[in-house]
Amino acid sequence: MSAAIYPADLQLSAEGSDEQFLEISMGPQHPSTHGVFRMNVVLDGEHVVRLKPVFGYLHRNHEKIAENETYLGSMPYTDRLDYICSITNNWGYALAVEKLAGIQVPERAEYLRIITGELTRLQNHASLIGFLLQDMGSSGTPLMYAFTQREKILDLFEALTGSRMMCNYMRFGGCRVDLPAGWLDQARKVVREFPRFLDEYEQLLVSNEILMERTQGIGVLSRELAIDAGISGPMARASGVNYDIRKVDNYGLYSRFSFRVPLGDHGDVYDRYMMRFLEMRESVNILEEAMRTLPDGPIVDPKTKIRGFRPKPGEAYGRIESPKGELGFYLVSDGSPNPYRYRVRPPSLVNLTVLEDLCLGRNVADVVAILGSIDIVLGEVDR
């Protein structure tokens, strides 16, 4: 195995020289890997010479399971892809099926999708920043601060869907349940208080010298490489790629909302970290506008068949801007009740393509920060 990983030019112990490379395996139980992810790292002293990610520890062949399941039957399974933001996974899948079968979504359902989707983005970015700071050694406090906010949003999800993380909220042509009484007031309160948390959090660490030292100029991703390697989401925008699928595809009703797309200059870890702050502020604006203008009406298209749902033969690729990047679903139908081909385009997996490029020549401690700033979830990488 090692012969295939390392090219012939790299000898682990060069003969006749004092130099020696050290091969270590970071993970799968390393705390910075957010699950079961492994990196085979070759070190020259403290510096990284080679880095090969190894994954598949959580592989359960989600795609094969979905191909043996009805269309609706795999909706709860999509929760388990990126288990931090299950609602956006539902949305991506519902969007692809709606494209495949030509289903219209009522206005109120689109608003509910935007509200829950942006709440998902808030809690994902908040916890990501907490995790990143935790990885870099600011033990405990920042993560717990972020989690208090995340907890409030998860409570909202529980009140709405019955589950904190495995929400299973979307249906083809709409959403599963309407808002319970008093939910909107509670959500308004959470969203109104959110900018205060952001201000506090930014003051706490954004201009912290140790943080700047650890993150600025580290793991620089160029704009060209970002596009070439298919990097999407906040990571691409931190490198200056102006590509937000909410703006490009105008899926849902995002064209009705005015929000800005923050872009980074340097593409380093610090930019990726700041990108999350800026995106959360825009999400708060979208949420406030959506909750103010939420229309009445049905929450699901009444013409959509729930039982015996068989889309006509054909195929569709639907994608959304999930908090981690471009989440796509590719479906091929042969007219039967289960998809002939079901494919998830996981943003985390594709964003990992450049991990080695970012880490070469850096210290081991930087690898931890770089990996944290990519924002991966292993449920989605391994599927």
Binding site: N61, S232, K312, G314
Partner: protein, 210 residues
């Protein structure tokens, strides 16, 4: 941009390439472009670099397995029945050979166009069937082509680092193929005996034997 215009433009740029527009009857209307394997690399290069096209962002790469299938059609033929020529309906069976298909979903960040699904097809479904790798053109295909190699068994020529990615290195089969036989739970029996041993042997013979 219209798919037909892209097709005619590419045919001018890459002499000898055989392109075909594959219609998609679903409401999504995402028609795709089928390219022959000899010219796939050159076509992909122009798709990426030609100033009018600029499909610089390859988002999704995936495989589809189409096993060989029999299609029966009723055909009227003339036949001698009891010495008299008559029109007789007969069922003719034709076999469509199996193929493994690889689909690339292309977008343009610069011009904000897409998706353009680009397809390639293998000639058969044998083990170790080859296709050209497009990783040198779009780096984003690197892990996703590895995944297709792992789960479908397509070998990509020109891929810099073609190894299994989700399954372990010693694994032999390709789980996403339609005729894949999932392992029985015999593995969990520490000392397989009687019917468990029988099932284990049956699975091994189905999976090709070892």
């Amino acid at each position: 941009m219209n798919l037909e215009t892209i097709k005619s433009e590419l045919e001018g740029l890459v002499p000898g390439c055989r392109l075909q527009v594959v219609a998609n009857p679903s409401p999504s209307g995402q028609h795709s472009l089928l390219v022959d394997t000899q010219h796939a690399f050159a076509v992909a290069e122009f798709l990426r670099n030609a100033p009018s096209l600029r499909f610089d962002y390859c988002s999704n790469v995936t495989g589809i397995d189409w096993p060989a299938k029999e299609v029966s059609a009723k055909v009227k033929i003339k036949k001698l029945v009891d010495g008299v020529e008559q029109d007789v309906e007969e069922v003719q069976k034709t076999t469509i050979p199996g193929t493994l298909e690889v689909v690339y979903h292309l977008f343009s960040v610069e011009q904000r166009t897409g998706p353009l699904p680009l397809r390639m097809r293998t000639t058969n479904r044998d083990a170790g069937v080859h296709l050209p790798s497009l990783t040198p053109i779009w780096r984003s295909a690197e892990f996703q082509e590895r995944e297709i190699f792992d789960l479908f068994g397509v070998v990509f020529d020109g891929h810099p680092d073609l190894r299994r990615i989700l399954m372990w290195d010693g694994f032999e089969d390709h789980p996403m193929r339609r005729d894949y036989v999932a392992p029985d739970d015999f593995e969990y029996e520490p000392t397989a005996h009687d019917d468990v041993l029988q099932r284990a042997n049956q699975h091994l013979s189905q999976a090709g034997g070892r």
